[in-house]
């Protein structure tokens, strides 16, 4: 089996990513789950660099590992909660049925993704554009910025509205009521 250096490196990083993902799901302590997910995001950023998507790798580190996970850690510390109570599952044998169905989902996903890779829909315009961009030596962030403001300007502006709605919504949701009126509900 002839493995190139990039394949070996990819397998190591993918292994770490899977181990931390399993740790996120199985860990009883939520703060440890959050920190393991940060490691997972850093591994994914490294994989994006292997896939020649350097701008997205930096954005992954800045946005996901640097902002979203910090927010998660803040909320976990704010709520100051312990682990889950041990409780019996509603269904008999729920964990094993869950693993079985999870295996079925995994098989379906793997089959469909590998089928899509081996039978690609030929899109000559995008491929021509990609080869033009690579031939001219334009930097990647310049291409993404150009696309963002010409072809994808509507989604770009709509996401700015979405973020504004999110900010205002969170401020309204988490506002404390001024005077509790006997039996304050959340």
């Amino acid at each position: 089996m002839n493995l190139s250096l990039s394949q070996i490196l990819f397998l190591v990083i993918a292994g770490i990513s899977i181990v931390t993902a399993v740790g996120v799901v199985l860990n009883r302590n939520p703060i440890r789950s959050a920190l393991l997910l940060v490691v997972n995001f850093v591994c994914l950023a490294a994989i994006y660099v292997i896939l020649n998507a350097q701008v997205l790798a930096m954005l992954q580190l800045l946005v996901y590992a640097g902002a979203i996970m910090v927010l998660f850690v803040f909320v976990i510390m704010l709520l100051n909660l312990g682990g889950e109570l041990a409780r019996s599952d509603p269904l008999v044998g729920q964990k094993y049925i869950g693993l079985l169905l999870g295996g079925a989902l995994l098989a379906g996903l793997v089959f469909s993704l590998l089928y899509a890779v081996q039978h690609p829909i030929p899109d000559t315009q995008a491929a021509m554009r990609a080869s033009q961009i690579q031939g001219a030596g334009i930097s990647q962030i310049q291409v993404l910025g150009w696309d963002m403001f010409t072809r994808y300007v509507y989604p770009f502006e709509l996401t700015s509205v979405l973020l504004l709605v999110g900010v205002v919504g969170v401020m309204i949701l988490t506002r404390r009521r001024s005077a509790p009126k006997g039996g304050e509900d959340a």
Partner: protein, 100 residues
């Protein structure tokens, strides 16, 4: 040994399945949210893998997925904080006032 894009898609499928199992099994709402973020990242990896071959559209869609995920995390954590602010143990199975 399959090529790196195929290995990336396998990794994306595995991470998505692990995230889905976590969403359905755990009872702590913050850990459920962490597993949702894991599923979103698995989908992002699939987008970027396909974008490697077909131009930069996959990377732009992944950019928008990151933006929407950030907004969703903010609002979702606001909801979780406002529901569970006054409880000792947080457990999604106990939020069942509307249960028929």
């Amino acid at each position: 040994m399959p090529s790196i894009p195929e290995l990336c898609l396998l990794l994306s499928a595995v991470l998505f399945t692990i995230g889905a199992y976590g969403v359905l099994t755990r009872r702590n709402p913050i850990v459920i949210f962490l597993c949702i973020e894991l599923m979103l990242n698995a989908a992002n990896l699939a987008f970027i893998t396909f974008g490697q071959r077909l131009g930069y559209d996959g990377q732009i869609v992944a950019f928008f997925v990151m933006t929407v995920a950030a907004a969703e995390v903010a609002v979702g954590l606001g909801i979780i904080v406002s529901i569970f602010r006054q409880r000792k143990n947080i457990d999604v199975d106990e939020v069942s006032l509307l249960k028929g």
